[in-house]
Subunit: 146 residues, 2 copies
DNA sequence: TTATCTGCAAAATGTTTGCATGCAC
DNA sequence: GTGCATGCAAACATTTTGCAGATAA
């Protein structure tokens, strides 16, 4: 029962509404995603699920994350040179700070991008559905170690 | 001799300064990247190079693009679910509009993100090196076809 | 001349898929 | 009981690497 139980319950409700079944593995994955603020990879989720459910397969984690992504309950940050990262704590688009040394990802405080998005939509004629804003740099911890 | 000859010459000069050799294949790749505004994939560059140099291999295109990326002469847009896209016309970070239907990518007119970057750096303690801002939506052409 | 580049093939990486079995509902 | 989920292995897509021969400077 962490502070994230509400989010866990909400995700379960929405998955059930769509006809999905809540298996022990899925429950564990949902919890990890809801409770984590480190934007884990599928591998990291897999390792954590296997602490309690050692027979869980990587494919199951991929499949569950994929279902949650399709339902909009997890935000995927794609990387071609690395594993994708997932945010199930706050699945709506928001800025990220990504450390190029330790690959940590944090959510910065930043004013809304709504006005930028509007400016862009009117300037280009695009119907904007989503966005991605990543800042790449060196985190305070890695700056201290350099 | 297009309007992009200056950029081609500049990239050649910088590659030479770093001890790189300008082979016919590399010259063709540099030209394609400098002249193109469609943010091509490596495959697309490869197909275009092969019109004039049919023996060129995909590995050579990957290697040349990688060298240019390391020298900061091409901007890489990573995708895990698709091929990466490359901007050799303007290699400094800038916003992109990506159509989720036809996968076209255009550079929108948008005010600088410098103030947002400053706000973010002071708020998080990160030393910001770069950023990525993608807007995902439906382009005017695909809206008309829907 | 010689260090770099090319082209081929193989490897590596991350992710997806097919299918028989198992289990949530 | 039914149909979705699991777990395994194989397939897949993209990118990278190793190396022998070719070539730009």
């Amino acid at each position: 029962m962490g502070a994230h139980q509400d989010r866990v319950d909400l995700v379960i409700k929405r998955l059930k509404q769509k006809g999905c079944r809540i298996t022990p593995q899925r429950l564990a994955i949902i919890r990890i995603l809801a409770e984590s603020n480190v934007h884990p990879t599928v591998e990291e989720i897999y390792e954590r699920v296997r602490v309690n459910f050692p027979t869980t397969s990587l494919a199951t984690v991929y499949k569950t994350v994929s279902v949650m992504k399709e339902l909009g309950e997890v935000l995927e940050l794609e990387f071609s040179s690395d594993q994708n990262r997932y945010d199930g704590h706050n699945p709506s688009p928001h800025p990220h700070c990504i450390c190029v040394k330790c690959r940590s990802i944090v959510d910065p405080e930043l004013g809304s991008l709504a006005h930028i998005t509007r400016e862009l939509a009117s300037g280009t004629g695009y119907r904007i559905l989503s966005h991605r804003l990543d800042f790449y740099g060196i985190c305070p911890k890695c700056q201290g170690e350099s």
